[in-house]
Amino acid sequence: MAESTLITVRELTYRYRQKSRPVLQGIHLDISGNDYLLITGRSGSGKSTLCRTFNGLIPHFYGGVLTGEVFVAGAPVDQTSVAALFNQVGMVFQNPEAQLFCRSVAQEIVFGLESLGLPRQTIEDRLRDALDQAGITALRQRDPQTLSGGEKHLVLIAAMLALRPRVIILDEPFANLDPANVLRVRRLLRELHAKGCGIVLCEHRLSRAAPDATRLVVIHEGKIAADGIPQGILANAETAWGLETPLTTRIGASLGLTPLPRSIEDMPSIPPQPALIAALEPPLPEAFTHQGQPPAVEVDHLCCQLGNQPILTDISFALHPGECLAVVGANGAGKTTLLRHLIGLQRPTKGRIRIKGRDTAGTPISNLARDVGLAFQNPDNQFFRLTVDQEIRVGPETLGTIDNSWIEELMAIFHLEAFGGHAPYRLSGGEKKRVAFASALASRPAVLALDEPTAGQDFEFRRNLRNFLGQLQARGQAIIIVTHDLTFAERTASRWLLMAEGRLLADTAPGRIMADPALMARAGLEATDRFRLAQRWQSKETRV
């Protein structure tokens, strides 16, 4: 064991209570306090489970069967309480809502310090330092539950920083953050690492996480499939383990570049290779032209106000059958509020919405639900039946629109045939999402509306979803997607509505929106790697 090694894992195998198969098998790993370690793998590969062994939550909190050994600073975790380890290994979980249990940011940060039994003055000093380091001093007295997603994560990181742990573990911190907040959290993590704090990041979105990591571990089916410097591993990550490798890395691997670039910033100056982008990336959707059909959705000067606060201001657009439209923007831009208007969960203060030519004003939600199928971000909000099949049927049964052959077709489109008799709550996150999408479509609505469908989902899910949506579009389904995942939006929709602060900034092709840096900055977004690279090469060709 090297002297700087903080966490040592030897032949670790772990099985959860009431599960027949182990989640982790024969894990062998050393983590030093100097690592910026990215642990990646597909959903369900065992990443989060492994991290929970580093601070003793497994086995102490979860029970189950653990064989092998995990040591933290020389102490065996199975014989050391979580309370004795928490100031060495700080952990930030995926869902910030449940981790923020105090009434103010300051109290949230000092909770761990009070647990340590530190003197008052030390607590005050560390609170001040942690707030300062995380750049959230202004939030000190705020109620954590009222903060944005990015701010919540910064508060949680600050709560860990105050403990001065040797390593901080973050489980999918970017899952629900918009690009601006991802950059904010990434910047803080880089600063912490530079100051000597070890970082362990669990993430499957490699383009966001890989550029900063000094070491990469791939977990595949509960085993360590690769462990080393990121450049050495990323080249094979897509083919070998089904991970989404950054575009620049794939281009670098095709051209034999060393070291492999992990981001646009890493990309060396090479002759433009636009054909390579076309070969490595899926084709972009073709521009949609409607054949004179009437629009499925018409939104006309829509305004929405809550109290004196304008939430949506003068939004107008139309969506035709067979068209896929992405509504993009940062968190809080008003995207979900716009979707809620389509189905009558919120009503316009001014302006009109027509679905299939009929004004929604005064139409009850139950009637609008026949024409607009809406799948919210969290599928757990809707499951209450015993099986997937019953769950998908419940909407059309209530509305009196049941069509058995269509339900069977939907089960096939979303690859749910094998799960028909399963309990929805027992499915994985991606499978639950598919059930929610099928459920939204079960009444054959004219419009399918998806709210952040890719949040927290891995590469395979996102690729499959693109295919599902393509099939639906080909059948004439009008689709509207709300997302801040621009890579997915670029690959799926030929038209974007760009929103910021409740206003529609642009309604045009993705390329035209991303080509306007001022517009993108105003919306708090960053162009996709594909677009940035193509633009960089295009400008180079122009110069030549």
Binding site: N95, Q99, G117, R120, N378, T398
Partner: protein, 219 residues
């Protein structure tokens, strides 16, 4: 100004005073004092929202009492309910639950008990938000969940996801608390809660008034 424990004892004293009062005009006076305090604290908007929920309850309570006794008793019962609940509105508007919990820990209450009390208050709005999100998700599928008998058969569509998510939330909360040393002994507190002379005088004064009322005025 006062220690949270003092505020709690004063709220209890004022509540007892209201409970001892029978005349509706006196009760109105006691309630008016509280409303004046709410206006001074600039909490009247929150109070108005709160009243929207409380007034129907008080009217029902007063109506039932009137029906079973007489009009004056019914009026007194309704006003008394309004005044007592307003007392605790003022108390919670002026006292952070964490301060109350921590100060009670100083007075000997076990920390886990105090924490459960404050966490319950913190998570009540979170559960409320979850319930709203579930109602909307079901409405979007055409399942009516508005209050009423007709929607009663649809209530499993709200209650089952809410129950499951509440358990999930409780699990995640427990895990997060463990990861921040909840179970560790020797806890210290950033804030110090000390009962000063002013606190003792307020408590003696408040409960003294209750004792006087009890001795000379209460029937």
């Amino acid at each position: 100004m006062f220690d949270p424990r003092t505020k709690l004892l004063l709220a209890l004293a004022y509540g007892t005073l209201i409970a001892l009062t029978r005349k509706p005009e006196w009760l109105l006076g006691e309630w008016s004092l509280l409303v004046a305090a709410i206006v001074v604290m600039n909490q009247w908007k929150v109070y108005l929202r709160w009243l929207a929920m409380l007034v129907p309850m008080a009217l029902f309570f007063g109506g039932v009492t009137w029906w079973s006794t007489d009009r004056a008793t019914g009026q007194a019962a309704a006003t008394s309910l309004m005044a007592i609940t307003t007392t605790f509105f003022v108390f919670f508007a002026s006292t952070e639950p964490e301060d109350l919990g921590n100060s009670l820990v100083h007075a000997g209450l076990p920390f886990p008990v105090a924490f459960v009390m404050t966490a319950a208050m913190q998570f009540a709005p979170v559960i409320g938000r979850k319930a709203r999100a579930i109602v909307e998700a079901q409405q979007a599928r055409g399942i009516a969940l508005k209050p009423g008998w007709r929607a009663l058969r649809n209530y499993p569509a709200l209650l089952i996801p809410l129950l499951i998510q509440s358990f999930q939330l409780a699990d995640a909360l427990a895990e997060a608390m463990e990861a921040r040393g909840f179970g560790r002994s020797g806890r210290t507190f950033r804030k110090v809660y000390r009962m000063r002379m002013l606190d003792w005088l307020a408590i003696i004064g408040g409960w003294g008034v209750v004792a006087v009322v009890l001795r000379y005025f209460a029937r």
